[in-house]
Symmetry: C2
Subunit: 168 residues, 2 copies
């Protein structure tokens, strides 16, 4: 199996991390991988915050039911869409998804663990407030990153014949 | 550079293909790669059509300004969201984006070329009609695939300091 397909299949949502910090260069590489996603008209509507300071990171804990993940993650990368850069809501949200998937695959390929946190969107405005960001930045997800404490997670997918609706 | 990051950086939108057909097993592998994207609550809202028959494929030509791409592509994979499987519009559209990105990376890793066509969404209803699909399937994009006629395409991204809005 080629290493790209292998990473796509073996990547898992990692929610438990060791206390080892994540090198800041790796965080930059993960964000850069995100930016190489395609976007409609190449508008690149994604914006990123990097949160590694434990005091700032702790402010995220009350904003989600996944506070345990926030607590043990060594870095959070909140991903925003810049409303001023948007041109088509559905396509821009898809581009953000492509960007985040690149980030998750990049983290996996470096031996890091990561998880895409979406439930925190219910507190999108508070995340913006914590980081002191302007109103044009709308939270799209928080990617939590660290060195994985375990890798034994299983996952499953529907068989292909359930998701292929036409062939011809 | 590791092969996953390398693929993420080097993947390009390929719009010109040779007349060599694409093995149907590779199309299945590309779709399977798509399904290994994460989705909220693992709801897997994506659905796929596989169009390789030239007569059916030709029916897509009048539906987009990219008819030259449709004409030389050896396979089209229209990607849909199943409205009956959705739980959160923004997150489901993001999941579809992650799925499509997996497909593009998988195609690239196999030496194939692919391009994400979004402009055809203006004729989403007609695409559904051409394929005889039910109203719960909403077109999200068409991925056009083939053996690349050339690979010399350049692309660019904003520098990281323009997209990182917070660090601390």
């Amino acid at each position: 199996m080629n290493p790209v397909i292998d990473a796509i299949h073996k990547r898992r949502s990692i929610r438990d991390f060791t206390s080892e910090p994540v090198d800041s260069h790796l965080l930059m590489d993960i964000i850069e991988a995100g930016t190489w996603a395609p976007s409609g008209l190449n508008n690149q509507p994604w914006r990123f915050a990097i949160v590694t300071n434990p005091v700032t990171k702790a402010l995220f804990e009350p904003l989600t039911r996944y506070k345990k993940v926030i607590r043990c993650a060594q870095a959070l990368i909140p991903v925003f869409v810049d409303k001023n850069a948007m041109y088509h809501e559905v396509k821009d949200h898809q581009a953000i998804g492509a960007c985040i998937q690149n980030m998750l695959l990049a983290a996996h390929s470096m031996g890091l663990g990561a998880v895409w946190l979406g439930e925190i969107l219910k507190n999108a405005a508070k995340v913006r407030e914590v980081l002191g960001l302007s109103g044009n930045l709308e939270l799209m997800a928080v990617v939590a990153i660290g060195h994985p404490a375990s890798r034994d997670q299983h996952s499953s997918r529907k068989p292909l014949d359930e998701v292929i609706v036409y062939q011809g």
